[in-house]
Symmetry: C2
Subunit: 226 residues, 2 copies
């Protein structure tokens, strides 16, 4: 009995994701869905990105958490628009939640909408939030075996940020092993080695964001394959 | 429609969890359910524990992963019995899976059964696997805000291991903040600061395991409150 129910839930979500896209398409707003384990650095990445690119882009953030509005307050401190979704124990965001959050954002002139999903390497991957691309974060403290053990995210993401590379001297993490496995799953995956703590490597990520924004603006960005 | 379905699933799981307990009770086997984010160090903790206590206890491991049998092979290398469950994308173990795994374990004379759940700080918490206690692992690389943001696990666990304390000089993690929040949620929570990489702090964990094993043997261990 469980499988048909799950399928219905995913189909209903997909329909609402189309409504999200219909809201974002007129302004050609680039929507990016950030997915990772808890504590991989999504919020710190956003704090850096929002601060460093504030002169170039208008950006907004939808923050997903089980509880607390800590992360929305952190990103709002950069001056960006932020809306918090509390899932009250739910393990992922879905497009119904995104639609509600959009009602509380000023989309006029917006360039990039970041969706920070609930910290979870499994469930958020299945639920389309109407994004143009999923972004996978992996902290090097988590171990280089994670793309092999949680392949769906790395298969579907357009970019992977290997975060906390400042910790590389102190952990057993083979960057090549993680990169190789992820890019074998997904030949088109862009990979960035970064430290959101000290800013190392973020220039490459920013260049990629500019290119994605440009492609979205010019209508050259194909829908994320699912 | 979604909520009643989820409730039925949890009720069905609870009935099968009673069957797990019925299998473990005759031998008074202590069952511990290890839950954490991906990469917090569950498998490394087991490798250490199985090796260091092999002279004292007969131990077995049920390994839960979406894919691969990497972790079962790692713990089997210590000489312990190990059974791998692949959830094929599923985000948590349930007691039906545990029952099947028990068919492949020799329970005779077993002292401790470790269940290593799927790496996920949300979904596994809801599903009783017939364990005597849930054990929460939190790596200091994940951030000291995690007990506040994912409270259910820290509320229900009997012990929390703050792992990777060898990284403390290199990360922003306030041990007191994490401890205080978790123990405010849960006054009876035992907390151990450990490094499964270099072995630091594991003695306290081993003492706690001995006490739990003794309580189970003597029938003094109350059922985990849910």
């Amino acid at each position: 009995m469980q499988i048909p129910v799950v399928r219905n839930v995913l189909e209903a979500n997909e329909k609402l994701a189309e409504q999200v896209r219909a809201r974002l398409d007129p302004g050609r707003i680039l929507a990016l869905n950030l997915i990772s384990s808890p504590g991989a650095g999504k919020t710190t990445l956003l704090e850096r990105t929002l601060a460093d690119l504030s002169g170039e882009f208008r950006m907004a953030v939808i923050e997903g958490d089980l509880q607390t509005d800590n992360d929305a307050r952190r990103v709002a401190a950069t001056g960006a628009q932020a809306v918090q979704i509390n899932t009250e124990g739910g393990c992922h965001l879905n497009s119904s939640m995104i639609l509600q959050a959009l009602d509380n954002l000023d989309l006029d002139g917006l360039d990039i909408l970041f969706i920070e999903n609930v910290g979870n390497l499994v469930c958020p991957v299945e639920f389309d939030c109407g994004e143009d691309a999923k972004i996978a974060l992996l902290s090097v403290a988590e171990g280089d075996d994670k793309p092999e053990k949680y392949p769906l995210l790395f298969n579907l993401a357009r970019a992977m940020l290997l975060n906390k590379i400042d910790l590389l001297p102190h952990v057993d993490f083979d960057v090549r092993r993680a990169r190789d496995f992820a890019t074998r799953l997904n030949h088109d995956l862009a990979v960035f080695e970064v430290s959101c703590r000290n800013g190392q490597g973020l220039d490459g990520w920013y260049e990629w964001l500019r290119a994605m924004r440009q492609a979205r603006r010019q209508g050259r960005l194909s829908r994320q394959e699912r």
